[in-house]
C-alpha cells in the first residue's frame, strides 16, 4: 500500500530554532539543507542556515507517516513557504523569545499562511531557558494574536517540550475534524 503522508510545517523567523525543533523529535536523522551563512548580519548569529527545508519523519502506522517540514527563515525564501504550505494539516510558528526584533517577521509569516493555507496553528516561544526571554503572554501581545490562538513556552532542545507543542497543535487540529 502506498504510504500516506501527513504534513506539519514548522516556520518562524531566522534563527528561531526550527531545525532544532525538528531534530529533537524526528525518528530519523533530519534531512537538512543547510548552507554556510554568508550575509552580514546573519552570519554573526549562526554558521549554517536552512536553504530549502528541513525534513523530519515520524512513522504512525503501516500506512501513515507524519512529516515535519521546516521552512527557511529568511523572507527571501518565501517561495518555499508556498510549496510547503500546500496540504499541511497544521503549522507551528516558532519565535526566538529573546529577540523581539524578529517578532514582526513572525507576524508576517503568520499573515502569509493565514491568507493562503488557513490550517490550525500554534506559536512556540522558543529559548525560554535563556536570559531576557519574553513571556508567552507578552509575545501574544507583540504578535497581536487573539485568545483563541495558543502561544506556548518552549525550549526546542528538550524533547518533552517539543512533544507538548506538537500535542497542543494536534489538539487544535482535532477541533476541525
Amino acid at each position: 500500500m502506498a504510504e500516506k503522508k501527513i504534513k506539519i510545517v514548522v516556520s518562524g523567523p531566522y534563527a528561531a530554532g526550527k531545525t532544532q525543533f525538528i531534530n529533537t523529535i524526528s525518528e530519523i536523522e533530519t534531512v537538512k539543507t543547510e548552507a554556510k551563512t554568508t550575509k552580514e548580519g546573519e552570519k554573526e548569529k549562526k554558521d549554517h542556515t536552512t536553504v530549502a527545508m528541513d525534513f523530519g519523519r515520524i512513522k504512525i502506522d503501516d500506512e501513515h507517516t507524519l512529516y515535519l517540514f521546516g521552512t527557511p527563515g529568511q523572507a527571501r525564501f518565501d517561495f518555499m513557504w508556498d510549496i510547503l504550505g500546500k496540504g499541511m494539516v497544521g503549522l507551528v510558528v516558532l519565535v526566538d523569545s529573546t529577540d523581539p526584533a524578529t517578532f514582526h517577521e513572525a507576524r508576517r509569516i503568520i499573515n502569509y499562511f493565514e491568507s493562503r493555507y488557513p490550517a490550525p496553528f500554534v506559536v512556540g516561544c522558543n529559548k525560554q531557558d535563556l536570559k531576557g526571554a519574553w513571556s508567552p503572554e507578552d509575545i501574544r501581545t507583540a504578535l497581536d494574536l487573539g485568545e483563541e490562538i495558543k502561544v506556548l513556552p518552549l525550549v526546542a532542545t528538550d524533547k518533552e517540550n517539543v512533544k507538548r507543542v506538537l500535542l497542543e497543535l494536534l489538539d487544535e487540529i482535532g477541533k476541525y475534524i
Binding site: I25, Y117, P118, L170, I173, Y176
Partner: protein
C-alpha cells in the same frame, strides 16, 4: 522640483486641516516639509517612516481579510475620516482581501495599507476571525488519536 513639493504640501494642509506635512523617504529622511514653528523636521520624518514601515509589515499580505470590529461605529464617530478613508472602510467587509480593496478603491497600495494599519491600530477593524480552518489532509479522528499516542510515546 522641491518647490512643486511645497505646493503639494501646502495644498494638502489647506484641504485636510493638518497642522503640518512632511514628504519622507522610506528610510526616514525629510525631502520637503511645511511645519509649524518649533516642530523638528528630522524627528517628524523619522517617526513618519517608522509608522509607515509598521503599516507595511502588519498589512504584509495582499491576501489578508479584515472585518469591522464590534463597536466600529462608535470609534468611527470619534475620529475624523477623510473621504478616501471612508472608501477603504466601506470596503472592509470580512470578504474583501487587501488586493480587492486596492482594486475597488483605485487607491495606491501604500495608501490602502497605511489606512488599514491606522484602522487596525485604533480598533475600527480587526483581522478576520477564522471560523473555518482547513486541513490539507483528510484526517479521521481515529488516525489523529494514533498520531497523538505515537507522539506521547516518543
Amino acid at each position: 522640483m522641491a518647490v512643486k513639493y511645497y505646493d503639494i504640501l501646502e495644498e494638502f494642509i489647506r484641504d485636510s486641516g493638518a497642522e503640518g506635512a512632511v514628504l519622507v523617504s522610506v528610510d526616514g529622511l525629510a525631502i520637503a516639509s511645511v511645519l509649524p514653528a518649533g516642530a523638528d523636521e528630522d524627528r517628524v520624518a523619522a517617526m513618519g517612516a517608522a509608522i509607515l514601515s509598521l503599516g507595511e509589515r502588519k498589512i504584509s499580505d495582499y491576501g489578508l481579510i479584515f472585518e469591522k470590529s464590534e463597536n466600529w461605529e462608535n470609534i468611527a464617530k470619534k475620529v475624523y475620516l477623510l473621504d478616501y478613508e471612508k472608501k477603504v472602510l466601506h470596503l472592509v467587509d470580512g470578504k474583501n482581501r487587501v488586493s480587492d480593496i486596492i482594486y475597488h478603491s483605485k487607491l495606491s497600495d501604500l495608501i490602502v495599507k497605511r489606512t488599514l494599519y491606522g484602522f487596525l491600530a485604533c480598533g475600527i477593524i480587526q483581522r478576520e476571525k477564522k471560523k473555518e480552518r482547513k486541513l490539507g489532509f483528510d484526517l479521521t479522528r481515529n488516525l489523529l488519536n494514533k498520531i497523538i499516542s505515537k507522539i506521547k510515546g516518543l
